[in-house]
């Protein structure tokens, strides 16, 4: 088995898989109870991400903008940011304010930290933390904004005064760019282990809230600023995505002597085992009965479904960390991740994925700097049975009549995916079920690469199966 790494060379991006940095910082900030985001830029830089998040989470998403205009691009946006800070403070009394930048404010060179200092000097009554996060859209992608937020948080919020050996008894968990349902699943695992997690950050309820009468002033849930302050006294930090939170975990280690564990996103059996084993290693707690039962159930699901999944070719696209985790489960299900496409220009990750896929015994093409148009062209050349990724892949799915299993962000054309979990043993079981059921929805003749087809097909399965386009496929 040999995998290969390719880098898409086209200048124009056609149907990108990724969004830009500010939305990542906004999302992460939603995980802090009572925190408000000010986006320093054009109004669209706040309104577009708000709209996108509302389409995914189906919740009110409120983000302030400094409403920069033509004049401010000449004279700088300082007055607008000062006014926005004052208005947000006086009107909402938030527990924290996060200011994220944009192409516009970065290009005109506004010094946001200095403006925040000036605001705090003028307003001694404001004692809440105000965090500045750099999120120009022309660097990285949406996950970059999330990661930069976590780094700034790790550098600025935790309490630096810590007595020797002082601990809060908790474990910092940085889930990365996941869904509210994923965070709830991770919480469940820690609870079963008898451990206290400190979630950096936790939007499991703020972005998947209930209906209460009356509506609370701030959405329920989220990690509090006080908890985050004490995160320097935790037993360890576990980052569950290398590129979203990995660096923040290392900051905790360097600055506050909190040991860092940077893991692969816990999707599938082995990745989840690694997470559980890390918790065992950190705390000496044993694996509880409940998690053993869930783990056994996942093994059971894998064996029950393997005749329908083994040998299928799958195309995966999305963020590096999600793909790295997913590939584990896909291989465990006996499927071949034929194309693994990400928009990131991250060669070390690509090389690691080549090694990982070879280790898992599957043959993949890993495509960096890729877009969905490129993926579509590959699929036209050599088809796949299944697409796995966010909603924007639906155009390929429709054109090629290939089913799409929706994971990642955004899922805007279906309901409730933000509530689902794909992490942990339970998340893996749910995903195994969904993938298998999606395959069941297909007619046997459209399975292009399987040597084993689902019920309803008579006769031996090693004969060539006719493809949609009339060609024959020799498995």
């Amino acid at each position: 088995m040999t995998s290969r790494l390719t880098i898409q060379e086209r200048a124009v991006a056609i149907n990108p898989t990724r969004a830009c940095a500010p939305i990542g910082a906004m999302l992460a900030n939603y995980g802090i109870h009572g925190a408000i985001t000010i986006n320093h830029g054009s109004q669209g830089c706040a309104t577009y991400p708000r709209h996108q998040m509302a389409r995914h989470f189906r919740e009110p998403v409120e983000v302030a903008t400094t409403s920069l205009t033509e004049k401010t691009t000449v004279y700088g946006g300082k007055q607008n940011l000062l006014a926005a800070l004052k208005n947000i403070w006086e009107r909402f009394h938030p527990t924290m304010i996060m200011v994220c930048s944009t192409c516009l404010s970065e290009t005109i060179g506004d010094d946001i930290p200095a403006i925040i200092d000036e605001f705090l000097d003028k307003h001694p009554e404001v004692t809440i933390p105000i965090l500045s996060v750099k999120t120009p859209s022309y660097i990285g992608n949406h996950t970059t904004g999330f990661d930069n937020f976590l780094k700034e948080l790790a550098l600025n919020l935790p309490d630096r005064r810590k007595k020797k050996g002082e601990t809060n008894g908790k474990i910092n968990i940085i889930p990365g760019w996941v869904n509210p349902g994923d965070i709830r699943e991770l919480k469940h695992m820690l609870r079963e282990m008898g451990l206290h997690g400190l979630w950096i950050t936790d939007y499991s309820e703020t972005l998947d809230g209930g209906y209460y009468q009356p509506r609370p002033h701030f959405p329920r849930g989220g990690t509090t600023v006080e908890e985050l302050r004490s995160s320097s006294k935790s037993l360890a930090t576990i980052a569950l995505q290398r590129h979203v939170g990995g660096e923040a975990a290392r900051i905790y280690e360097r600055r506050y002597n909190v040991p860092a564990y940077v893991l692969t996103m816990p999707i599938g059996l082995r990745n989840t085992d690694a997470f559980v084993n890390t918790l065992v290693e950190i705390t000496d707690h044993s694996i509880p009965e409940a998690l053993e039962v869930e783990r056994a159930r996942l093994l059971d699901a894998l064996v029950d479904t393997h005749m329908y999944t083994t040998g299928l070719r799958v195309a995966l696209y999305g963020d590096p960390d999600l793909l790295e985790g997913l590939v584990g489960l896909i291989a465990e299900m006996g499927m071949t991740p034929a194309y693994i496409l990400t928009a990131a220009d991250n060669r070390p990750w690509g090389e690691r994925m080549v090694e990982l896929t070879e280790e898992l015994g599957v043959e993949s093409e890993i495509i960096l700097k890729g877009d969905l148009h490129e993926l579509h062209k590959r699929i036209k050349q050599k088809p796949v049975d299944l697409l796995i990724g966010h909603s924007k892949g639906k155009f390929i799915a429709e054109a090629e009549k290939i089913p799409l299993v929706r994971v990642g962000f955004p899922v805007e054309d279906r309901f409730g995916y933000h509530r689902r979990s794909i992490v942990g043993y339970n998340g893996a079981i749910a995903l195994v079920d969904e993938i298998t059921n999606t395959i069941f929805e297909r007619r046997a003749t459209t399975i292009v690469s399987n040597t084993l087809v689902e019920t309803g097909v008579e006769g031996p399965t090693d004969i060539p199966i006719t493809l949609r386009n009339g060609a024959a496929c020799h498995p």
Binding site: A13, N15, C45, I139, H196, R220
Partner: protein, 476 residues
């Protein structure tokens, strides 16, 4: 009315007014001056406004079905404006594909002109059937001084088809509104009149300012055709580049959205002498008037009356039935601009009254049209922000909120029935037949059993949000 949430924002008072006796304007600052509009947003007030790029790419340029929609800028502007607004057409290239020069840090430092030129060439090579390339400029590429106009000219010579460059940087203007204007002006300058077709255009019209949201145009196009008129271009819903090139041949322009598209009607009037009429294509009275006014221009009055009689007879039983169910309901409409005044009469035809009217980017003429139509005591708000909307919903308790997707979930969290007026819950809502859809959606929103369940069974939020984390109860 004084908003509690505006105690520390006195500058918002001039954007809020109530219609007083005799049609007077009782403004929030205590004066009788007219409501302030189309000015810069107060920073940090949690506005719902978008940017100039959004108005140009999302509203005016985006619906053109056979143009390559290329954003010159970083990835986010293109990703977020891709595929969510249902400006449908009889093909879906414009919905399915988005193109972006994907500016990175190096491009920002060294300039993006080369990448733009290469992107246009590559995009055209990938999709040779496209009829034009629409290039939208963004904040960052404008600030670094890329000469996109010049690149567009070079590219045009290379690919042999129009490359239309929109200078719609997000920071220009105070809202999406300027983006509409730029979209109009650019399309007019670069495309309209570039082809001179042969034939008789004496009975032809353009529909100006309708974006075919969920196929709105299908609800009235056949009515104009039934008068014996030919539609050349729909600016810009279900329209091709070729249609735009010859739209100057029309005998009459029919202007629907009078905020985002009167610009091109004015320009055509000035340059080609094309007259235009303003119409509302929603609701029985207004749709009928639109057909009558159009028919009068062409001397087709008798035919118009036939069409109107036939169509109204078709829907009247449904409207009567819905009116009985909707009678007396009070509505808060918050839309981008003109839809507010387009719908006041439609809602009355369904037995409902507008109790608050707000727009994101309305200008003075929009607010004048609102004031003319609303009843005494109606609240009008310009560019309302999130806390203001929340206060209107909780203090004035309208029976129904008609707004857009961003505001939907706020309404739901406050237990207020909601209909999506931007992109429609079902739709289409225009024309005679669309009004039945609109009425049905309003009826569904108002009478769904969920509201009874919420009002009877909802409980207050558990006090300490920490407890929800669960780990407090665990023994370690």
């Amino acid at each position: 009315m004084q908003f509690k949430c505006n105690q520390t924002l006195p500058e918002r008072a001039i954007h809020i007014a109530i219609k007083g006796p005799g049609g007077t304007c009782q403004r929030g600052d205590g004066t009788a001056c007219f409501i302030a509009n189309n000015v810069a947003t107060t920073p940090g007030d949690m506005t719902e406004r978008g940017c100039t790029y959004a108005g140009c790419r999302g509203v005016v340029g985006g619906p053109v079905k056979d143009a390559i929609q290329l954003t010159h800028g970083p990835i986010g502007c293109a990703f977020f404006s891709w595929g969510y607004r249902p400006h449908l057409a009889d093909s879906d290239f414009h919905m399915k594909y988005t193109f972006v020069t994907d500016m990175n840090e190096t491009n920002i430092v060294f300039g993006g002109e080369k990448k733009l030129l290469q992107s246009i060439i590559e995009a055209n090579a990938e999709f040779p059937d496209a009829k034009a390339v629409f290039v939208y400029n963004t904040c960052s590429t404008a600030l670094i001084g890329d000469d996109g106009r010049d690149v567009a000219k070079q590219a045009e010579a290379i690919i042999g088809k129009p490359v239309v460059f929109f200078e719609c940087e997000g920071f220009r203007g105070v809202s999406q509104s300027l983006g509409h204007h730029i979209g109009n002006e650019t399309i007019f300058r670069q495309l309209v009149g570039s082809v001179e077709p042969e034939g008789d255009f004496s009975r032809s019209i353009n529909i100006i300012g309708d974006y075919n949201i969920k196929n709105d145009i299908r609800t009235f196009e056949y009515l104009f055709e039934a008068l014996g008129l030919r539609i050349i271009a729909r600016f810009t819903g279900n329209v091709s580049v070729d249609d735009l090139k010859i739209m100057h041949k029309a005998a009459l322009n029919i202007v629907h959205c009078q905020r985002s598209a009167t610009y091109i009607a004015d320009m055509m009037k000035e340059k080609y002498g094309t007259p235009y009429i303003n119409v509302t294509l929603w609701g029985i009275k207004n749709m009928s008037k639109a057909l009558r006014d159009t028919a009068a221009f062409f001397g087709l009055e008798a035919r118009a009356e036939e069409v109107i009689a036939r169509e109204v007879a078709r829907i009247q039983p449904y409207i009567d039935a819905y009116r009985q169910r909707l009678q007396g309901k009070r509505v808060f409409i918050y839309q981008g601009g003109p839809r507010v005044w387009h719908w006041i009469e439609l809602l009355r035809e369904l037995g409902m009254e507008t109790e608050t009217a707000a727009t994101t980017f309305g200008h003075t003429d929009d607010y004048e049209k609102i004031f003319r139509q609303i009843a005494e005591g109606t609240l009008v708000v310009d560019n309302p922000n999130v806390p203001e909307i929340e206060e209107i919903l909780t203090r004035r308790r309208p029976d129904l909120f008609i707004s857009g997707n961003k505001e939907r979930y706020l309404a739901y969290k406050l237990g207020v029935p909601f209909v999506n007026g931007h992109t429609y819950d079902t739709g289409p809502y225009a024309g005679f037949v669309g009004m039945v859809n609109f009425a049905r959606d309003i009826d569904k929103a108002l009478h769904a059993p969920v509201w009874n369940i919420l009002h009877r069974h909802a409980r207050p939020a558990p006090a300490a949000h920490h407890a929800s984390h669960g780990f407090e109860e665990v023994e370690s």
